[in-house]
Every structure is written in C-alpha cells, then in structure tokens.
C-alpha cells in the first residue's frame, strides 16, 4: 500500500512540483521500511516506516491539491473582477438607453398635462424657507430634469416661480423670480444651453389652492417647469 501510494505521488508532476519535500520523505521512509524488512524480528519497524511513507504520500497529495486550488482561485478571482466591471458598464448603458423610462418618470413627476403643456412642479420644501436657494434634497429631481433635457435636445423649458399671498406683493414677486432663476442657473451649470431656458416670476398670481390655510399656502409656494413639445414649441406665457 505504501509502495503504491509513493509510486502514485512520485509520478504525479503536480505533486512533485508543489510538495517535493513530502515526496522525498515518503521515499526515504519507504526505503527504510524496505531495508528493515530484510532483518528478522523487525516487522513492527517495517510497518512503522511503511505507515510514515504512506502518510507523507497522502500529505504530499493534499498539499498538491491545495496549491492547484489556490492557482485556480487566483485565476477565477481575475475573471470575477472582469465580469463585475462588465456588468457595471452594461447597467450604466441600459440606464442611458432607458430614455423612455425616464420620460415616463418626468411625466409622472410633472403630474399635469395642462393647456400650457407638460408642467412639472417643484414644491416649496425644495427651497430654504423664504429664500431662493435650492436644498440638497432637490438634487435628484434636478438631475432627472437635466438628463431629460439632454435626451430631448429639441425641447425647451420655461421656469415659473410662484408664492403665497402673505407678505409684501413686490417682495413676493421678487422671491418668485429669484427661485425660478435659481432653478434655471442650476440647469445651466449642469450643462443645459441657456437658450433653452427662460425664467419668470408670477408672485402671488395664479394660486393653485386657497391662501387661507397653511396647507394651501404651501401648495401655492412653488416653481413650475413648463416643457415645450418635442419640436421646441412652448405654450404662450401667462
């Protein structure tokens, strides 16, 4: 049995390459067992060295399997990284190809298909209170808007600011203009041609809800983005 095992590992080039020491020891132990077998009364020693030789052969076999596995794992790891990269790129591409999906999203955000065309509303919560600055929470909506305009290069937009009826009329008009302009500036900063954007303020005019309740006033404080049709034709200004 020990002879057979040793023969097997000795003739296996993978085992010899990855576990040469164990193969040598298997051979040495076996030679010892063979020499001892010629002496009378040495049966126990013979079987001992045969046992050791057998073990060395088995250890050599395991160590060889281990290093083959490690080599294979290193190759597979490279393959895995390559596939992961390919998947990321493919996903990105598919998002870009899903302009239709994006259009649907914008339409659903816009909510109203009015006589003025497609209208998207940015709520008061996207602005600092009483200020023209956009909050960071508006980023997502703004990016979607930019992507939509990039995928639909002939469309143009009109950005209209509105306020509630509290406070000074002129100040409200100014705030509504400033908010509309802020949105326009962000779009321009993100690469949309300024020729495709116009901004105007309407102050307290054209409320969408009554100004008596806080809830109604909040609805009236808004910026609306009016989209042109696919040919770039915008509805008449208010």
């Amino acid at each position: 049995m020990a002879h057979k095992s040793f023969q097997a590992v000795k003739e296996n080039s993978d085992v010899l390459r990855s576990a040469p020491k164990d193969v040598i020891r298997a051979g040495e132990s076996l030679a010892r067992a063979d020499r001892l077998s010629s002496y009378w009364g040495s049966t126990d020693d013979v079987s001992h060295y045969a046992y050791l030789s057998q073990r060395y052969s088995e250890i050599a076999g395991q160590n060889s399997a281990l290093s083959l596995n490690q080599e294979r794992a290193a190759k597979l790891e490279l393959e895995r990284q390559r596939l992961q990269l390919a998947l990321r790129e493919a996903k990105l591409l598919s998002v870009q190809e899903q302009s239709n999906w994006l259009e649907e999203q914008i339409v659903s955000l816009a909510t109203s298909e009015t006589e003025r065309g497609l209208v998207m509303t940015l709520g008061d919560v996207l602005f600092d209170a009483g200020q023209a600055n956009l909050k960071a929470s508006a980023n997502r909506t703004v990016l979607k808007l930019v992507q939509f305009l990039q995928l639909n290069p002939r469309r143009v937009v009109r950005i209209e600011g509105y306020t509630d009826s509290r406070g000074d009329k002129l100040e409200n008009l100014e705030l509504s203009r400033a908010r509309a302009q802020t949105v326009a500036d962000v779009l321009i900063d993100l690469g949309i041609d300024s020729k495709r954007i116009e901004a105007q303020g309407h102050g307290e005019s054209f409320p969408v809800a009554e100004n008596a309740s806080a809830r109604g006033r909040a609805q009236n404080r808004r910026v609306e983005i009016v989209f042109s049709d696919a040919q770039g034709r915008l509805g008449a200004t208010r």
Binding site: Y39, H48, E58, Q62, R72, L76, E79, L83, L87
Partner: protein, 107 residues
C-alpha cells in the same frame, strides 16, 4: 539500523523533541480548524496520549513510534482542512461568477 530493530532496547533515548514536534503539529491542525470530524486528528490525539503514557513508563521506543505517527496524522489532518477550505473558496468563486454571467446575460 540494527539497533532500531531491537524492540524495547534500553539504549533508546527519550524522544522528548519528537513529542514536542507532535504536540506542535496537533495544535497547528486544530488552529486551522481541524476537529473530531477529521479522522486523522482523532488518531493523532489518541496516539499522542499513548505516547505520553509510554514516556512515563520509560518505554521510549514505543513513545517515539507513536509520536512519529501522530505527528504525520496531525499534519495530514491539517492539510485536509486547508485543502477543503480552498475547495470551498473555489466553489464560492464559481457561484459568484455564475451569478455575474447570469446577470450579464439578462441585460
């Protein structure tokens, strides 16, 4: 060589170093995660125990033979555990690669 074949020879030195090596091998096998599930580890521990009691009886040759075998049993147990772990790792990598291929195919 002849001396080795004489059983129970009083001239056999105490195999202190071999016992140390064997204990080390058993500890090492356990450290990489070998347990009773690995038959060679159980063998190693049993033989090590027998070798230790042989030492106390001054049966040095018996102690040496048991300890030598136990050392290799333990080393084989260790090698088996490490090989199994590398096999598990390979399987996991293959799973992940298959999942990636499937996702890429679905796009």
């Amino acid at each position: 060589m002849l001396a080795l074949s004489l059983t129970g020879c009083a001239s056999d030195p105490a195999p202190t170093e071999q016992l140390r090596l064997t204990e080390q091998a058993v500890t090492q096998a356990k450290a990489v995660g070998a347990d009773e599930q690995i038959v060679e580890l159980a063998m190693a521990e049993a033989k090590l125990q027998q070798a230790q009691s042989a030492m106390q009886r001054d049966a040095f040759k018996e102690a040496r033979i048991l300890a030598e075998q136990a050392e290799l049993d333990a080393r084989l147990a260790e090698a088996r555990v490490l090989t199994q772990k590398s096999q598990d790792q390979l399987n996991e990598l293959n799973n992940r690669i298959n999942r990636l291929r499937k996702q890429l195919g679905a796009l």
